[in-house]
């Protein structure tokens, strides 16, 4: 575990020394502020559309950061050969996978924190209300969502050879789940025979990432989510992440590392 933390430290350092996060953050802030400065019938109390745009940008940015950072971790170690001196130390491959996961997850958590802080300040100054607990729930569920995403991309990065194709495949799958995941059961009941059954199976096996997207509740000032539901969703997300990580480790464990 200590090795995993040491490894995660390197990932976090890399994250804050690269420019990706800053670029995306500045872009989010700029776009939101520009949208906020638009005059809508002379009313400056209007805030929900801003919240929606800001949250959308946060979701896109966080997804991009998490996927691209994670996708390059292990391939970059192999390509730049840093994996050789690293694994020549008393580090097991399981620790390597765990460390990469932890690093990416913690780093993207830190990014999320910055993003949501901006969001909170933005909406707070317009609405003059601070539903801190609601924002915490949104942030937390978003972070759990990223855990599953990162674990999946990490698995992809040991399965697929090229990091870019891995990132693309993962993005497509994740966005697909976000949009369709919750509706596959309805579609499946309308399709007879084997394809319907396959769809049902997919429906029950995919991680239901759409749960973690609670932007609508935040945008529309809806009441808090049931805390028990939050907890269960956390367990579900972390469970899926663990399964994906174990799969990733199983693939990576026996891999021959040469160039």
């Amino acid at each position: 575990m200590r090795n995993a933390f040491a490894l995660s430290g390197v990932v976090i350092k890399e994250m804050y020394r690269r420019k990706d996060f800053y670029v995306l953050f500045v872009l989010t802030v700029l776009i939101t502020l520009v949208m906020g400065s638009i005059n809508i019938f002379g009313d400056n109390q209007i805030v929900r559309y801003l919240k929606e745009i800001c949250l959308l940008l946060i979701w896109i940015s966080a997804l991009i950061i998490a996927v691209t950072t994670t996708a390059r971790q292990i391939p970059a170690e192999r390509e730049s050969r840093t994996i050789f001196p690293l694994l020549a130390k008393p580090v097991s491959r399981a620790e390597l996978v765990a460390g990469k996961f932890l690093g990416c997850w913690l780093a993207s958590g830190a990014c999320l924190l910055v993003f949501y802080l901006f969001f909170g300040v933005l909406s707070g100054t317009r609405e003059h209300s601070w539903p801190v607990l609601n924002y915490f729930q949104a942030l937390w569920l978003h972070w759990i969502f990223l855990a599953v995403v990162i674990a999946a991309v990490l698995l992809g990065s040991v399965v697929f050879a090229a990091p870019s194709s891995n990132a693309t495949i993962c993005l497509v799958v994740i966005i697909g789940i976000l949009f369709l995941g919750g509706h596959l059961n309805r579609v499946a009941t309308n399709i007879p025979g084997a394809p319907g059954t396959i769809l049902s199976v997919i429906y029950f096996t995919i991680p239901h990432l759409e749960w973690y997207d609670v932007r609508d509740l935040i945008t529309h000032d809806r009441p808090l989510i049931n805390w028990v539901a939050c907890g269960l969703a956390t367990l579900y997300g972390l469970g899926y992440s663990t399964i994906l990580l174990i799969l990733g480790w199983a693939v990576f464990r026996r891999k021959t590392l040469t160039l």
Partner: protein, 284 residues
């Protein structure tokens, strides 16, 4: 060498661009003033406009929106715009709306059931909590993207003049809509209402409403199949105006016109009788 190639390429691109820009400008100038967004989106902007208009509807219901996989929304549930057309200023929700809306069917499995913790499932009306203004950005965006769409102008103006008490903004927006849709009787109807209710200028209102009626008939004559409901509304407003002003002849005339298009002919017939009776009495 490489620098030379780059310079040549750049100047080549530049020349092509200077030739193409006027061409495209010519092609596009049927749209009055293409903004950055419209230019970027090209023809897909109509699709986006529809999306944003629907978004306004979802906003009106506190984020509650059916996806394409849900059962279609019932008439009564999607009434943001119907209210406007019907002219009902009363947006009180029917009693059973506190419950889960009908488009969300009974959950099929635990995943669906549990998932409902994480998105809005209860009905809410922005008008009940005095936040109608939240839908306006999307309506404005919808008109930016598709200036020929009438409904967003009308809807926005309705909320602007009614609950937000901003008739000036409402009028400006409607006039903008009118510029893009000179033949829209829906916009004229809404404009007439502003002059009657907010500006208290019944004569102007009457002129506008008469124009609206003309446009309706024009479209009808051209085979455009305009909605009779709207015609009835226009006439209804005119009837009310004449009643206010006490012009019995005109009142009667509009009532009779209204009877032609209205489904509730008996009710109007009764009113006609009343007016006729009034005309008959000498002290008028």
């Amino acid at each position: 060498m490489i620098r030379l190639v780059i310079v040549l390429l750049l100047s080549g691109c530049f020349t092509v661009a200077t030739r193409l820009v006027p061409y495209f400008e010519q092609r596009n100038n049927q749209d009055s003033a293409p903004s950055v967004i419209t230019a970027l989106l090209g023809d897909s902007r109509r699709m986006f406009a529809t999306h944003f208009f629907e978004k306004a509807d979802a906003y009106f219901h506190g984020g509650l929106a059916p996806s394409i996989f849900d059962a279609p929304m019932k008439e009564e549930e999607s009434h943001m715009t119907e209210e406007v057309h019907a002219g009902t200023t009363n947006a009180v929700a029917p009693a059973q709306e506190e419950e889960i809306p009908a488009f969300l069917q009974h959950p099929q499995d635990w995943i669906e059931k549990f998932g409902r913790n994480f998105f809005p499932v209860t009905h809410e009306h922005l008008s009940d909590i005095g936040k109608e203004e939240e839908i306006l950005p999307w309506l404005k965006l919808a008109t930016e993207l598709d200036p020929q769409r009438v409904a967003p102008y009308v809807t926005a103006a309705y909320w602007l003049r009614n609950s937000m008490k901003k008739p000036d903004e409402a009028e400006a927006f409607l006039r903008q809509g009118l510029r893009n849709n000179p033949d829209s009787f829906e916009i004229l109807l809404e404009l007439g209402r502003i002059y009657r209710d907010n500006r208290k200028e019944p004569l102007v209102a009457e002129n506008i409403l008469q124009l609206a009626l003309q446009k309706w008939h024009k479209r009808d004559a051209a085979g455009g199949k305009p909605e009779e409901l709207v015609c009835e509304e226009i006439l209804g407003e005119l009837v009310r105006l004449e009643k206010q002003q006490g012009d019995l002849k005109q009142w009667l005339y509009y009532l009779e016109e209204m009877k032609k298009v209205s489904p509730s002919k008996d009710e109007i017939g009764k009113q006609i009788q009343e007016v006729k009776a009034k005309i008959g009495t000498p002290n008028n």
